[in-house]
């Protein structure tokens, strides 16, 4: 069904971020005076966002399917018009629905989780602002606007990670996150600028994509731009080697982690890949669009490396949030790799499903930690399945989805990626994806087991969390159960690709398989194997630590993992210390020996000259002149001082006299 005219929401989607932004400002300034301290306003704006996004989704789905761009001229310079506007297409709608729904659930959750927090109102204000920025990003019609949303999100992330800034370690984590993403954001700016010039002075997304597809952009510039943009993706979406900030970012409050570092902000990089996919595809020769099926490209390589190393790291974490964060990094790797092998729909679908299930897992972890007052898997948790039934079930659903157990959503999306990789000829990456599944199954089972089975090792008396905490978890669990069926080729359902995939994708990229084939089965088997192996290891006590006790290579491996591949150590030693010690030492030497001596020499000669000058010129000539002038000034001053007699009449007289004088002059001069 196609409509002749775009729906009203399609024409004005900017209302969505606007309501959130306004709400954020109001909460920031007046929140403390409101009865629920700002939370009610935040939740209201989020609810409105959900409603409006749903409306937009309906309009999009029932509409013509042509992306709607609405722009106005923002500013001009020279001949170039830079517009500002909105772009509504399947991707926008999907992201908006995702962001608004999860934001709403997280905010509801936070009313209880952050109940007695010292900066409750501020938390809600920044959370709302963040949502506004993310909404703005996904509906941007040009890359310049995207930069704006991107940066504001980075700011909100920084503010929220450092939410409890009284503890120094939180501050360090926030700084680390901010600086790492900021460094990679340089890539974004450079990329945007390069593409601007490459595309004939246009920031417009649609234009960029069309030009890229038609080979209208010179390849060198395109590659430069794409590389720069990819650097930004690596930083923002925590890919190797810029992934180190994400686990540290877990210092912030759990609901924030659920929203920002699992579901939304970190997927901004992936979103960029999706939005400007033709640019990347042409630049790196990806898939069908890039006319190179099966070749290596940096995107797929980095994505795949990330999958594996992060998954391995998740095995050795003690803190539940750290496990989940590494899991996020790994799954983001899946998404990036998906785009790297040309599986657009699969990648986007995985983004969608992962957002819900990761948010669910985080909220579940928060629920547990709230009750046991701690995050340590081994020390605080265990045996919670009886005392926290709702949390247990929802967390189990989330874990199963993540591992990829049919018929949950995670299975469908991950299977899609794997299958598509193969279909496009990227066999190596297909294997990596399967390895990733195995590892994911392993660490998630470990995590789940340590939390909910066995004996309770902590010191608290666990009980189920209140409704405001469990309801969002339940909602997300339901979503996790259902949304997988949006795209299940084996069952003949292709709603997601129909609604979201952009028009320029060739059919092959969309994924057109309707049979249960080898990949499907292999995926399931591997997931099951992973779960089984992990379960055995856990219940029979073969955990990574006991393994390490028995074999040296395992011990070395464990050491490597515990120290996070020594990457942090490397960064610290090489980059920070290199600069601090090497460079500054050199600078100091130059400063002290060369420059200081020079300055001293100059100083001494100046003093000598000065003394001479003082003796015969200064005292002899200048002083006399100055004294003379002073005397003259003094005397003339006292003489002229009489003018200011204070007598108003005299002033008037003088004025009149002057006027008369001038009048006489003028008359005479005629």
């Amino acid at each position: 069904m196609s409509c002749g005219v775009d729906g009203s929401m399609t024409r004005h989607p900017w209302v969505i971020p606007l309501t959130a932004a306004l709400a954020s400002v109001v909460i920031l300034f007046f929140g403390t005076r409101l009865p629920k301290r700002g939370a009610e306003l935040g939740i209201a704006s989020m609810a409105m966002g959900v409603a409006l996004s749903a409306w937009l989704a309906v309009e999009w789905i029932t509409g013509s399917g042509v992306p709607a761009v609405n722009q106005h001229v923002w500013f001009r310079y020279g001949d170039v018009n830079v517009d500002a506007g909105t772009l509504v297409d399947g991707l926008t709608v999907m992201m908006l629905v995702l962001v608004t729904v999860i934001s709403l659930l997280v905010q509801i959750y936070s009313t209880n989780y952050m109940k007695n927090d010292r900066r409750y109102t501020h938390f809600f204000a920044i959370l709302t602002l963040f949502t506004a920025a993310m909404e703005w990003l996904v509906m941007s019609a040009n890359t310049l606007q995207m930069v704006f949303g991107w940066e504001v999100m980075g700011l909100c992330s920084f503010l929220l990670i450092g939410h409890w800034w009284e503890e120094k370690s939180n501050v360090h984590a926030a700084m680390k996150a901010f600086l790492t993403t900021r460094a990679s954001d340089m890539g974004l700016v450079v990329g945007v600028i390069v593409l601007f010039f490459a595309a004939g002075q246009s920031f417009d997304v649609v234009e960029l994509n069309t030009l890229a597809l038609a080979d209208g952009i010179p390849h060198g510039l395109l590659l430069a731009g794409a590389v720069a943009l990819f650097v930004a993706v690596v930083g923002k979406s925590a890919q190797f080697p810029l992934h180190t900030w994400l686990p540290d970012a877990m210092a912030g409050p759990t609901p924030m982690s659920a929203l920002i570092h699992a579901a939304t902000m970190v997927v901004a990089g992936v979103f960029l890949l999706a939005r400007l996919f033709p640019v990347f595809a042409q630049a790196f020769s990806i898939g069908d669009i890039g006319n190179d099926l099966g070749g290596l490209n940096p995107i797929a390589v980095i994505g795949s490396i990330t999958i594996v190393i992060a998954a391995l790291l998740a095995f050795v974490q003690h803190d539940i949030k750290k496990v989940l964060s590494y899991s996020t990094v790994s799954q983001l790797g899946y998404m990036v790799m998906a785009f790297g092998v040309g599986a657009w729909t699969a990648g986007a679908f995985h983004l969608f499903t992962h957002a819900f299930l990761k948010a669910l897992l985080f909220l579940g972890a928060g629920s547990v930690s709230h009750v046991v007052h701690g995050f340590d898997l081994e020390r605080d948790m265990g045996g919670l399945r009886k005392s926290m039934p709702v949390t247990h079930v929802t967390f189990a659903i989330g874990s199963a989805a993540l591992i990829g157990i049919i018929p949950l959503s995670g299975f469908w999306s991950k299977e899609q990626i794997t299958a598509q990789a193969g279909a496009n000829g990227y066999v190596l990456f297909q294997v990596v994806a399967l390895v990733g599944t195995f590892l994911t199954a392993g660490y998630m089972t470990r995590c789940y087991y340590l939390m909910f089975w066995g004996k309770h090792r902590g010191s608290s008396h666990p009980h189920e969390s209140p409704l405001t905490i469990t309801l969002p978890c339940v909602a997300l669990a339901v979503a996790t159960l259902l949304i997988g069926f949006l795209e299940a080729p084996a069952l003949g359902i292709g709603l997601f690709s129909e609604w979201v995939a952009p028009a320029y994708l060739p059919a092959a990229e969309i994924g057109d398989r309707s049979t249960i084939d080898l990949v499907f089965v292999t995926e399931l088997l591997i997931a099951a194997a992973g779960v089984g192996l992990a379960a055995c290891a856990l219940t029979k006590g073969f955990g990574p630590r006991s393994l390490a006790q028995r074999s040296a290579p395992a011990r070395a491996m464990y050491g490597l993992l515990s120290n996070r591949y020594y990457l942090d150590w490397l960064y610290d030693r090489l980059v920070v210390n290199g600069i601090r010690r090497g460079l500054s030492w050199i600078v100091h030497w130059v400063d002290h020996n060369l420059i200081d001596n020079l300055v001293d020499l100059v100083g001494r000669s100046a003093v000598g000259t000065g003394v001479l000058v003082n003796r015969w010129f200064d005292t002899g000539v200048v002083d006399r002149v100055v004294n003379g002038t002073g005397g003259i000034a003094h005397r003339s001053g006292s003489a002229l001082g009489h003018v200011q007699s204070g007598k108003v009449q005299r002033y008037a007289g003088v004025m009149l006299g002057t006027v008369t004088f001038v009048a006489v002059l003028l008359t005479a001069m005629r």
Binding site: Q649, G653, L656, G657, V659, A663, V664, L666, T667, R670
Partner: protein, 160 residues
């Protein structure tokens, strides 16, 4: 007409001279009354009856009364007739004469031949309409000014 003008002008000039030279303040005020009152017929001769009436009403009627009150309230009790002039008598004279010379020469030069129609008929309606049309803003402004001055004078001069 000419005769009337000559008499009136002489009267006015003499009275003005008295205003600025007499030692007694009260005499000066009375001379001022003569000046102001003498101006009114001059206005009438120039076909400005309305202004002449206003001149009498406002100047002679109100301003002079104000002056008399002012004099009354600021008289020193000893009432010694002191020299009313200060040291600037001669400079003042020079300035005044100089100014007069300049004015006279310029005026005669510029307007030497212009004449005023003695039978001219005045039109007060014209004045009124001009006041309320072209210059209505000034009119309103002056009203506000009067109010401000009224309040200002009261505030300044009250004893509390």
């Amino acid at each position: 007409m000419e005769a009337a003008f000559t008499i009136l002008s002489l009267l006015v000039i003499v009275a003005a001279w008295r205003v600025v030279t007499t030692q007694n303040v009260v005499r000066a005020a009375l001379a001022l009354v003569v000046v102001l009152a003498g101006m009114a017929p001059l206005f009438i001769m120039l076909a400005a009856e309305f202004v002449a009436v206003i001149q009498v009403l406002v100047y002679v009627g109100a301003v002079v009364v104000l002056f008399l009150f002012g004099i009354m309230l600021t008289r020193s009790p000893t009432d010694v007739p002191e020299d009313p002039d200060n040291r600037r008598r001669w400079p003042g004279l020079i300035v005044a004469v100089g100014l007069f010379g300049a004015l006279w020469f310029s005026l005669t030069d510029a307007f030497g031949n212009t004449s005023v129609d003695p039978k001219r008929v005045s039109d007060t309606a014209d004045v009124g309409s001009n006041l309320l049309r072209e210059n209505v803003i000034a009119f309103e402004a002056v009203s506000v000014l009067l109010l401000a001055a009224l309040i200002g004078a009261i505030v300044l001069a009250r004893q509390d």
